[in-house]
Amino acid sequence: MIQKVLVAMSGGVDSSVAALLLREMGYDVVGAHMKLWDYVDVGGDIHKDGRCCTLDSINDCRMICNAISAPFYVLNLSQQFKEKVIEDFVAEYRAGRTPNPCVRCNIDVKWSEFLRKANEVGCDYIATGHYAIVEQEEDGRCQIRKGTDKSRDQSYVLWGISQEALSKTIMPLGAMLKSEVRSLAKRYGLRTAEKTESREICFVADDDYHRFLTEYEAKEGRTYQPGDIVHQDGRVLGQHKGTPFYTIGQRKGLGIAHPTPLYVQKIDVANNRIIVGDDEALFEQECEVENVNWVSISPPELPEQAEVKIRYLHPAASATVTPLTDRTVHVIFDEKQRAITPGQSAVFYRGDLLLGGGVIA
């Protein structure tokens, strides 16, 4: 029986090619664009090209679906996105953490609401244009592997997907190189072939997250309070503009004069302080990770050796991952790591295999 798949289409070249490949593989394709936010709510309308949730992108999706005779819909998931992703984003910054909204969106919007919509319209699977490989083992367990194109691998943001959701997921680009995707798009004359892409946060269209946070909080009647920038030895060195505007490891933009380079060490929300110090003090041996989800292996009881990535572009470091409870682990790195940042995801790999991940406490 022909199986039906709902393809998440952003308007970019990747998801366009994904839809096309699925069609060629014989699937009954339905295209869908997720409307996730509105400029009215998020501000920063700069009419840049190549962004999702803009009308031109939606039209690109529509035309591509039409070319492959696939129905196309725009799904309004903006309420869920606001509640689950945007509000979490703002709250995390308020709590002195550095959130990863793509991870939240994948867990709480794409692999929940979007998947539900797919079921509702009778689709057996959902598909995305992520560069990661989804496979099912003989024992039935679904696994995620790093994408073949190592420079594009997106498995880091996929650690939160449940087994059940993963069993209904297809990622047709996992084994492809970006260059292959582009040339395929060109060969098929896809209007999205030449599009540039963005790796920034989609709902902060102007990439100015300070502006976004300030405006969003102001709507709720909140403002950020300035406070002290304090050296780790206790000296007050200057003033900050509000703790959410700083991230751990940041050097530029502190606005203080000091004979040696200083970096943000800690965001002390309770006392409204930013603690700074030298580079060496940024290195730490261990961290705790919460909300852990095990993907490619069943939850281990004993410590696992793994390579752990602590941010999107971090080159994974060897570590011992020790389970504390069902949902928390303790990570001890073989070598100290720079700027382990609460709120970012820690993702555990064994070679290409994504074992699991969680949020740094």
Binding site: K35, P71, N76, S78, E120, V121
Partner: protein, 389 residues
């Protein structure tokens, strides 16, 4: 798979007779109606004949009818044009809470950007507004009251006369959006007493891109466009002669068929509503059972999202709609149902089926045969429905 079109309130197919009437004005008699030569005169004559025909149907003078590009433009001229005319003297407008966005959004624009005070006239559970409530809102600072004749989502037909009376008692102007009623039921602008009325062609088997605005003689509205003397400077731009001819022909056909169409639509709608309510639990008809445009059937299926029903039916070849679509095509919760006091959940689960001349009982039987399964399946997956049970 047979396609069944049940979205006639969105738009209708152009009647073949209308196409025939328009064809000569697309290529042969292509002249610019404002040109002085014979080509122009031909166009002008056709335009004025169309104007006369349409004016006679809605009972106004031809000189009181202005052609526009459609309902949205007419509504915008009425709301913005009136407000601009009174700027500095009056600073208040009132529009119905269940108006089309073509009225609501220019009104909101005036409130945001031009220091007008905006009041929304409430509607009751069936979509009706009362003259008493309007009386409390209207003052001598009010420039305009705009309340639609028949609602596009629910079909509710407003008794305009009482609202006009209250408005005129305070020397204010009254506009009605009669897009969904013109041609389907009696629309007599003199009898309603309105100062302005919006009409359009594509809801009554005419072409898209042509509409009209009735402006009572003596009422002045500022134009939105500048750049020519067309339509007595109220709406500059080369006249859409073929469109106007098509509009007039469509209206002529609609009047010829009005009684028959109304009866057929009522019978089909009653049949459909009873069958659906009889075969699916927890269904509600939104809007009144009487005093409505019969071809409009807005129903809430508790516990399911309208968006999901529309998609599932589309994949089965059935075209209907839910709420109103924004530019992107995404479905948004209906402001009309919210204004009528619908619970958030049932407003989300609302579907509009709107019948047309080509709708048959067989088509409705097919919808009735697949709908229980579609709704049942969605309810099984719904986190809301099981909670309610």
């Amino acid at each position: 798979m047979e396609s069944i079109y049940l979205d006639h309130n969105a738009t209708t197919p152009v009647d073949p007779e209308v196409v025939q009437a328009m064809l000569p004005y697309l290529s042969g008699n292509f002249g610019n109606a404002s040109s002085v030569h014979a080509f122009g005169r031909d166009g002008k004559v056709a335009l004025e004949n169309a104007r006369e025909m349409i004016a006679s149907v809605i009972n106004c003078e031809p000189s009181e009818l202005y052609f526009t590009s459609g309902g949205t433009e007419s509504d915008n001229i009425a709301v913005l044009g009136t407000a601009h005319r009174f700027k500095g003297r009056k600073d208040h407008i009132i529009v119905g809470a269940a108006e089309h966005h073509a009225v609501l959004e220019p009104a909101e624009y005036l409130a945001h950007s031009e220091d007008f005070k905006l009041d929304l006239l409430p509607v009751d559970g069936e979509g009706f507004s009362s003259p008493e409530q309007l009386k409390e809102l209207v003052t001598d600072r009010t420039a305009l009251v705009s309340v639609m004749h028949a609602n596009n989502e629910t079909g509710t037909v407003q008794d305009i006369g009482g609202l006009v009376e209250v408005t005129h008692a305070k020397n204010c102007l009254f506009h009605t959006d009669a897009v969904q009623s013109t041609g389907k039921i009696k629309v007599d602008v003199k009898r309603m007493g309105v100062d302005m009325a919006t009409i359009t062609a594509h809801k009554i088997y005419g072409p898209k891109g042509i509409g009209g605005l009735y402006v009572r003689a003596g009422v002045k509205v500022s134009p939105l466009f500048y750049g020519g003397a067309h339509e007595k400077k109220r709406r500059p731009g080369t006249e859409n002669v073929a469109g106007a001819v098509g509009f007039a022909k469509a209206l002529e056909i609609a009047m010829r068929r009005q009684e028959d169409d109304f009866r057929n639509m009522s019978e089909l709608a009653d049949y459909f509503i009873d069958k659906v309510i009889g075969s699916i639990p927890d269904v509600m008809l939104n809007g009144p059972r009487k005093n409505r445009i019969p071809q409009t059937m807005n129903m809430s299926f508790n516990g399911v999202e309208g968006e999901s029903v529309v998609l599932a039916l589309d994949l089965k070849g059935i075209a209907c709609s839910s709420g109103s679509a924004c530019t992107s095509g995404a479905t948004e919760p209906s402001h009309v149902l919210k204004a009528m006091g619908a619970e958030a959940v049932s407003a989300q689960g609302a579907i509009r089926f709107s019948l047309g001349r080509s709708t048959t009982r067989d088509q409705l039987d097919y919808v009735i045969s697949v709908l229980p399964e579609v709704i049942g399946k969605l309810r099984e997956m719904s986190p809301f429905y099981s909670q309610q049970k």
